[in-house]
């Protein structure tokens, strides 16, 4: 499996600087983009296509916090949140409440914006919690580590659920 962090020459950690990511992406793209290798050997063009595709893939993975977290979990040896779909215990009540709120704004487009903003805020706060746990992640031999990873997975699933709600708001 490709290590997206290594592909773009960035340190392997969840919290990344967006500006640094953009710069790394553009620098790598400039080095390998097929437009600059059209006049070279066939193998060179081919390699530049493959590497550019990898760089694009790495960039897309790291740009999105959810995919970045999943990628880190995979690099840790898994499982990922998509592979183990448990949710935080308290989240069930929140889900029901959110569904109710969506029902209430149905037919009231003026209230939609406010609800969406709240969902986005919630998503951000879940991502912040995830970032904190990633920062505090213990060494691989620590007994607490498995628990921390499980926590990250359940928070990620909650965030993914919220993201689904935001999408549903627009689908109406």
């Amino acid at each position: 499996m490709m290590d997206a962090f290594r592909r773009l020459g960035l340190p392997r950690r969840f919290t990344i600087d967006r500006g640094q990511l953009e710069k790394a992406y553009l620098t790598h793209s400039r080095a390998v983009h097929p437009d600059y290798h059209l006049t070279g050997a066939s193998a060179e063009l081919h390699a530049s296509l493959e590497l550019s595709a990898e760089i694009n893939e790495a960039y897309n993975t790291l740009r999105d916090p959810f995919r970045r977290a999943e990628h880190l979990l995979r690099l840790e040896g898994g499982p990922t949140a998509s592979e183990q779909k448990q949710l935080p215990a308290a989240f069930l009540a929140e889900m029901l409440e959110a569904r109710e709120e969506i029902e209430q704004v149905r037919g009231h487009p003026e209230k939609l914006e406010g609800l969406e903003a709240r969902f986005r805020q919630r998503y951000e706060s879940l991502m912040n919690d995830i970032a904190t746990i990633f920062e505090q992640l213990e060494n691989p031999d620590s007994p607490r580590r498995a628990n921390q990873l499980a926590q990250i997975r359940s928070l990620l699933n909650a965030a993914q659920y919220i993201r689904g709600l935001i999408r549903d708001l627009h689908a109406e």
Partner: protein, 611 residues
């Protein structure tokens, strides 16, 4: 200008033109009268002569049955796609199914059938001739063109005797043309309303890199549609039914409608006049600008909805757009300018001629590809998702729309029965869930899977969309490591052999002896590949495994033998094979390039000139 090697070509629905870069400046190719636009129009004459451009357009009224235009609308299409178009096309369009199941469109004109690729090639040849017969070109397409439409355009270039370096999206080219004197950064929206197609692209510009964030469009929306609205209004007024093919009347109506439309961009009122003396037909009606604006309003709304979708995909709002660029002749319409300005909340750029800006951008891209300059880079996207049909007619998306190209996607397949050695998969392009709502591109056959029990093989199918937005597919069986043979049976278009044949048939090349020329080209390429590889081996050969080195030695011997022979296809195969075995070496070297470029510049600013 007499020794142009490479040009940028805007192959438009109504007009085509070429541009080139000289001393760092992009210039449009003009004739002795200063005219740059070549009407994308062809006329066929009884004595066998074929005229292209304004001479052909002049014939349209006199001899509509033997004059053809708007060929771009037919490119990469089949009959089913064109249902709503057909009524207004005065020619007979037929679909022929080939022995291998491809559906190929033909236009019946002057007693002969032509594919849209051949007709577009005639236009490209004329554009090429006026530019002094350059051998290489960058050709633009609407951003929203799908894989078959891009392929068809590439093939047309090939038939016209051009080495098509790159297919570039029109709005991206336009941004490139405008970006020349702007070194800043920001978000650019390109609103491109041409004769037949509409595109809206959102780009970010930063340190010379143009990155397309999202693109949306409609391949059936353009100035032609405005003409049609006028034509329909007039036809209703005259009490005639347009679906009865009447080429003479259609052509006169079209001509009058176009004139009226153009006049209404300058005046508040314009007269629409149809005169056919032989039929004693004299018709006049005055249209006001506001009347015309009311007619086109729904179409403009539709275009702005696409802009909204593009912005949503880019996760931006209209106010976050810094610059708005207008492209295409239809953006001369005051109503269009006003509505676009209102939508984005800023005055659009109109400094460059909207008819020429795409060709200028294409010329700049051609210059980047051939001159070694690295001050600018285009990062474009796939306009429509690509996927494979799964159970129940659902499309499993492998590469999502708006992914930056080159883009890659991998999916795994297995076999259904014991010892199955081949798998057939249908490829689709589009956003909808079901295959019936997406465009069928072709059938993918994976063969050479080692015999194993059912469900045991793991065939990884890799989709790669290259820098032209064109799909290639490779596959590997993971348990055995065997490369599966991949053949794509396209649903439309021409095969490589058919294209080569058309190139050979073209008179110009028969004289030059096409095969000999191709042999020379390929031999040069093969020798360059060997040279590059030797250089690479000296640099990084020690990083290869002994097997990899042996494979290169063997392939090189085969390639050298093929260079000595006169067998074109054997030489092509040997080049492909050599490229395949030298790929690991090229990858290692490319990675070294990245390392070198990155080391030492970390502490300095990452400026384009340092990279």
């Amino acid at each position: 200008m007499n020794s142009l090697q490479v040009v940028g070509i805007d192959l438009g629905t109504t007009y085509s033109l070429a541009a080139y870069v000289e001393n760092g400046r992009a210039m449009v190719v003009r004739d002795t009268h200063g005219v740059a636009l070549i009407p994308s129009c062809i006329s066929f004459h009884e004595d066998g002569t074929v005229l292209v451009g304004s001479a052909a357009k002049a014939r349209a009224l006199l001899d509509p049955e033997h004059t053809i235009f708007s060929i771009k609308r037919l490119m990469g299409r089949n009959l089913a796609d064109l249902k709503k178009e057909l009524e207004l096309i005065p020619h007979q369009i037929v679909e022929r199914e080939t022995a291998d199941g491809r559906k190929v469109l033909h236009v019946n004109i002057a007693g002969r059938e032509y594919t849209p690729e051949e007709l577009s090639a005639m236009i490209l040849k004329e554009v090429r001739r006026r530019a002094g017969n350059p051998s290489k070109a960058v050709i633009t397409v609407p951003a929203y063109f799908d894989d078959s439409q891009r392929q068809a355009t590439r093939d047309a270039g090939r038939i016209a005797g051009l080495d098509v370096l790159r297919i570039v999206n029109e709005p991206t080219a336009a941004a490139l043309a405008y970006g020349l004197d702007r070194r800043g950064q920001g978000i650019i929206a390109v609103y491109d309303l041409g004769g037949g197609t509409f595109d809206c692209s959102i780009l970010s510009l930063s340190e010379g890199v143009f990155k397309v964030l999202a693109t949306h469009g409609d391949t059936y929306l353009g100035g032609d549609d405005f003409d049609r609205l006028l034509m329909k209004a007039v036809a209703a007024d005259m009490g005639v039914d347009l679906s009865h093919k009447d080429p003479e009347l259609l052509q006169h109506l079209r001509d009058a409608a176009e004139r009226t439309k153009i006049a209404l961009s300058l005046a508040e009122n314009a007269e629409l006049k149809v005169e056919i003396p032989t039929r004693a037909l004299h018709y006049t009606r005055t249209f006001s600008r506001s009347e015309f604006e009311q007619m086109i309003q729904p179409l403009i709304e539709r275009s702005l909805e696409r802009c909204q979708s593009a912005l949503r995909d880019a996760q931006l709002t209209p106010s976050q757009v810094d610059e708005v660029v207008l492209v295409g002749g239809s953006t001369r319409i005051p109503y269009v300018r006003r509505r676009v300005g209102e939508f984005f909340g800023k005055t659009p750029h109109t400094e460059l001629n909207p008819d020429e800006v795409v060709a200028l951008g294409a010329a700049i891209q051609a210059d980047i590809l051939t001159s070694g300059r690295r001050d600018m880079l285009l990062l474009d996207v796939v306009p429509l998702s690509l996927g494979i049909e799964t159970l129940g007619g659902v499309v499993d998306k492998i590469i999502h729309r708006n992914s930056t190209v080159p883009a890659r996607g991998v999916t795994r397949y297995t076999t259904a029965v014991d010892n199955q050695t081949a798998i057939l998969l249908n490829i689709y392009q589009g956003e909808r869930e079901l295959t019936k709502d997406c465009r069928f591109l072709g059938t993918l056959k994976l063969a050479g899977i080692p015999p194993m029990p059912a469900q045991f093989p793991q065939v990884d199918v890799t989709f790669l969309v290259n820098h032209d937005g064109i799909l290639t597919v490779t596959a590997k069986e993971q348990r055995s490591g065997a490369e599966a043979q991949v053949t794509i049976q396209p649903a439309h278009g021409l095969t490589r052999e058919e294209i080569e044949k058309l190139v050979e048939q073209s008179i110009e090349y028969a004289q030059q002896d096409f095969t000999a020329r191709r042999l020379i080209e390929l031999r040069n390429k093969a020798e360059a590949d060997i040279r590059h590889t030797h250089k690479g081996l000296a640099e990084a050969g020690d990083q290869l495994t002994p097997q990899q080195r042996d494979a290169i030695v063997t392939a090189e011997e085969e390639l050298r033998a093929a260079i000595r022979s006169d067998d074109l296809s054997a030489l092509q195969q040997a080049i492909d094979r050599f490229a395949q075995v030298t790929n690991p070496l090229a990858t290692i070297i490319m990675n070294e390039v990245i390392k070198k470029r990155l080391s030492g510049i970390a502490e300095r600013e990452l400026k384009p000139e340092n990279i």
